[in-house]
Amino acid sequence: MNAYEQVLKELRQHISPINARSVIDRALTRAGVAPGDLDAQLWRALPEIERGAAVFLGAEGARTALRTFTSTSQSDTKVSLPVATEPDLARARARARTLCEEAHLGTFSAQTVVTVVSELGRNMVMYAGGGVIELESQNGIIVITARDRGPGIPNLSEIFAGSYKSRTGLGAGIRGVRKLARKFDIESDAQGTTIRVEVGR
């Protein structure tokens, strides 16, 4: 049984066959997914199917009805982006945006992610001679890890206390990222810096 038939079967346990089919078909149109592609693109069509089903079952009912599909279709991706120059940074920002779309993050969360990537990436380019930014999507949470082998960030405690007036912007960027993140971890010494940030709903 393919994905289309599986979803149809599940929905028909809750709503009539005609409505179930109509919900799915309209959702596919809205999501821009062909019925034959549903196996590969279920994660993309699912929010729209849920929306359509909610008309009949309410938001909670729709979520419950499609429960089995939601937990398995979250697209988990890990991307590794070397960032050494400004064009690299532009690419990393664009890639981050795409990742957020694929993970169905809201526009506000997506903006947070791209801003974090921009701040950390810029610091890497300006002060560490480049590094790598890893983006990972886990169940709607985006994990951004920025690693470099630069000289490290001095005065970290002062930066976070807000007492380090950085003319160069390094401190401002890190402070901003820390405030944007739901989780923030940093390790920095003369051998390099690793910053791990979580952003999500």
Partner: protein, 156 residues
């Protein structure tokens, strides 16, 4: 060929327009600003401020998909330098996502007024459109057909 041209960006000055509209300068920041572009932008804006001595400088960000701490710094520097030359600045066009991100990061634009639209910023600097009264326009048309004397327009 500059590094930017090699990368396909074309001449920077072609992409950072500074427009003089009546007595107000309008700068639209579009897309993402690389460091070299930020320098050129600053230079162009401040040269224009010096040349025209405008009543105000409007920096519109509705075309910027991302505003990070670096761009904030660039803008703050431009605004402060313009102020030293006697021109106040206003920021416009920040969308909800960017506004929230800036607020969360704790960024504030001190000494710079912020409006929702570029038009509102222009109004701040005293540039207001004079609406054409429909009645007057109709009368002007009728009179034009029937007489040779030009109708005198009275501005409210």
């Amino acid at each position: 060929m500059s590094a930017n041209e090699r990368a396909g960006y074309g001449r920077i000055s072609d992409r950072t327009p500074v427009l003089k509209l009546w007595d107000v300068l309008l700068v639209t920041v579009r897309g993402e600003l690389m460091d070299v572009e930020a320098e050129v932008l600053s230079a162009e804006v401040l040269n224009a401020v010096h040349r025209w001595g405008p009543r105000g400088l409007v920096i519109d960000l509705s075309g910027a998909g991302l505003v990070d701490s670096h761009l904030c710094r660039v803008i703050a520097d431009i605004a402060q330098a313009a102020a030293l030359m006697g021109t106040p600045s206003a920021l416009s066009g920040l969308g909800p996502e960017i506004a929230l991100a800036l607020e969360t990061m704790g960024v504030s634009f001190r000494g710079v007024q912020v409006t929702r639209t570029a038009e509102a910023a222009f109004e701040l600097f005293g540039v207001v459109p004079a609406p054409i009264d429909d009645e007057e326009a109709e009368e002007a048309e009728e009179d034009e057909e029937s007489s040779t004397e030009p109708e005198e327009r009275v501005e409210p």
